[in-house]
């Protein structure tokens, strides 16, 4: 069987475990694929480089990475490609010259817009909102925040005021403390937008603990299994996420196609099994789908899946 490695930002993150699930599904479909699911202990580029080095030594056929750093991985993935290994990135991308293609979970602009729309839903036309992000270096979070700001600059959203961006470093306690800090420094705060699964859970907890349910709402990107409780408690009305299972599934299909000789070039159309077809843009990037919104009506159902 062809070995395809799924390298994630760090082990033990629910989101990536779900992508692994999708990857296994794809492998079963394809038949001759063996999945290696791996990632460093801490979300660092150095750790991923060590892992990719050992994958190269194993002569895997393809490497699918969610990068902790778009630039730092380039030299090692280039080396991998020189030795005939197909490298693609998914979720969090590698710089263009370091991979054959990138599968974005969704379109960055769409995510930014989604985040703003969800907050407008709970805040109304006017009010203060704040962002609780992951680490200050996180690539995709930073992109989404930038997109959010673009959307907020539009006249339609002039009433929404982004008062602060804080970083919880994807640590529960720090995120929690940052959320409490937001409550204090911004008494009129209406919503916290946390585009990270750790942050949104911690912020939800903080709202419940401070008995601010109904006064401050949390929204952002989270996993249904982790958020179900917060939706029930009322701290969270709605949140969004793309389907990580489909993301893993599609990435493996793409990698497999490349292994089997498909070429990644602008405009190319590559099959992704049951999900459909990816069309590469000029940067060899493809986006999956618009993030899906979860609320009280459907969260229980999806919580069982991921």
């Amino acid at each position: 069987a062809d070995k395809i490695a799924l390298v994630v930002k760090a082990m033990g993150i629910g989101f990536f475990d779900a992508t692994h699930q999708g990857a296994l599904e794809a492998a079963k479909e394809l038949g001759d694929v063996e999945i290696i699911y791996t990632g460093p202990a801490k979300a660092t580029a150095e750790g991923q480089i060590e892992i990719i080095n050992s994958l190269i030594a194993q002569n895997v056929k393809a490497i699918v990475v969610s990068a902790n750093d778009p630039d730092a991985l380039v030299p090692v993935t280039k080396k991998a490609m020189q030795r005939g290994i197909k490298v693609i990135s998914f979720d969090s991308g590698i710089r263009k010259d370091g991979r054959l293609l990138h599968l974005a979970p969704s379109n960055n602009a769409l995510i930014g817009e989604k985040l703003v729309k969800m907050s407008e839903q709970v805040v109304g036309k006017t009010g203060e909102i704040a962002v609780l992000s992951a680490t200050a270096q996180a690539t995709n979070q930073n992109t989404w925040i930038a997109e959010m700001k673009k959307v907020l600059a539009q006249p339609a959203y002039s009433g929404l005021k982004l008062v602060s961006v804080v970083y919880g470093d994807d640590q529960t306690d720090k995120s929690y403390r940052e959320a409490l800090g937001l409550f204090k420094s911004h008494p009129n705060l209406k919503a916290i937008v946390a585009p990270t699964t750790v942050g949104i859970a911690a912020a939800g907890k903080a709202v419940t603990d401070e008995k601010k349910t109904g006064q401050i709402f949390v929204t952002g990107l989270g996993l249904p299994s982790e958020m179900a409780g917060h939706v029930k408690s009322g701290a969270v009305k709605s949140f969004a996420i793309w389907n990580p299972i489909d993301l893993g599934y599609s990435s493996i299909h793409l990698a497999h196609a490349l292994v089997k000789g498909a070429k990644a070039a602008p405009g190319a159309k590559l099959k992704m099994g049951r999900v459909g077809t990816a069309t590469l843009d000029k940067d060899n990037e493809a986006a999956m789908a618009e993030p899906f919104t979860y609320d009280a009506s459907n969260v229980e159902q999806f919580a069982k899946i991921f």
Partner: protein, 348 residues
């Protein structure tokens, strides 16, 4: 026992600094000075206080326990797993379990240290990684998130007893226990003695092995209980929980005047060290210091406080020459023998 005035003085200085920071922040953001916020800070510091007492016991013996955060996370994870597996588990069992597992992990540190006569810093450096890895093995790398955490675990830190949050009672219990042990029990005094002069402690007949084991076991026990509270407070358990927190714990001890060199430190000082970190941590988001500054400020604070510490300790010493009148200071040298001749002869 008369504690030297110097020690008292530095504790007062620390208190004044804490008050000054609180007032200064309050001037910019009045919300900081409300009772609510005070309780928040105290609540936030409670778990740190519990850990600091354990760490202090170990530091007093010239040791260090770098594995506290890993111990906390491992114990917390095991409790969370137990809560998920047996929904009917009573709270007492959970508490006993956290204390027991924590104590066991701590005792393992202690055993390695005394049985093989190994340096504490290396042993706990090793167990720090080993315990952390064990969490991954135990949980299969998965998160135990909010809805899977046992309601009793989640409820515990949010309980209110006699008008104060349960976390505060836990912290108070830990502090009182520390003070009782270190001030009023032989075992505690012997920790000071051992830390002050290890080989002398052997000569003096102190059961050194038991005392060291006690210190590490207690440090582990407190870390274990802190683990249960941590998991309850943030209602989540995962591999990287509280990672790096050991440095915060040590920093609180050092700021509070507990010496890394052993044998020196008071529970009051350590509590102030915790309070200091709590106030600074609570203040930074409130006055909206750029999040990027937080770590640099924490580092600078540690450096300044240890430098101040060292400065005040340097002045002590003996004095051979007679002092001039009026310069009698608090840290008096032993007075000279009286000049009144005691009749005596001498044969060489």
């Amino acid at each position: 026992m008369t504690r030297p005035s110097l020690n008292l003085r530095r504790e007062w200085i620390l208190l004044v600094i804490i008050a000054a920071i609180a007032l200064a922040v309050g001037a910019r953001a009045p919300v900081f000075l409300t009772l609510r916020n005070g309780l928040d800070i105290a609540n936030d510091s409670a778990i740190l206080a519990i850990l600091v007492i354990g760490q202090m016991l170990v530091l007093l013996t010239r040791g260090v326990d770098l594995s506290v955060a890993s111990n906390l996370a491992l114990t917390g994870m095991l409790c969370a797993l137990a809560g998920r597996a047996w929904p009917g588990i009573p709270l007492v069992v959970l508490l006993a379990m956290s204390a027991g597992i924590g104590a066991l992990l701590g005792a393992l540190n202690g055993w390695l240290i005394v049985r093989f006569n190994l340096p504490a810093i290396v042993v706990t450096l090793g167990t720090m990684s080993a315990y952390r890895g064990a969490i991954f093995v135990a949980s299969g790398g998965a998160w135990i998130s909010d809805h899977e955490i046992h309601p009793l675990i989640k409820g515990l830190p949010r309980e209110t007893w006699f008008g104060l949050p349960a976390l505060l009672w836990f912290a108070a219990a830990a502090l009182l226990f520390g003070a009782w042990l270190l001030r009023w029990r032989r075992e505690g005094r012997e920790l000071y003695a051992f830390g002050g002069h290890p080989s002398a402690a052997v000569y003096a007949g102190i059961p050194v092995t038991q005392r060291l084991l006690m210190a590490y076991t207690l440090s582990g026990l407190l870390a274990g209980v802190a683990g249960l509270l941590w998991v309850g407070r943030y209602s989540i358990a995962f591999t990287e929980l509280a990672s790096g927190f050991e440095l915060t714990v040590i920093a609180a001890c050092v700021i509070g005047g507990v010496s890394i060199g052993g044998g020196v430190g008071t529970v009051g000082g350590a509590a102030l060290g915790v309070l200091f970190i709590g106030v600074v941590n609570g203040a930074l988001p409130v006055i909206q210091v750029s999040p990027f500054w937080q770590q640099a400020i924490a580092g600078a604070v540690i450096l300044i406080s240890v430098a101040l510490n060292a400065g005040s300790q340097r002045q002590r010493g003996r004095q051979i020459l007679e002092r001039h009148e009026g310069t009698v200071s608090a840290s008096a040298a032993p007075p000279a023998p009286p000049a009144t001749p005691v009749p005596q002869g001498n044969r060489a």
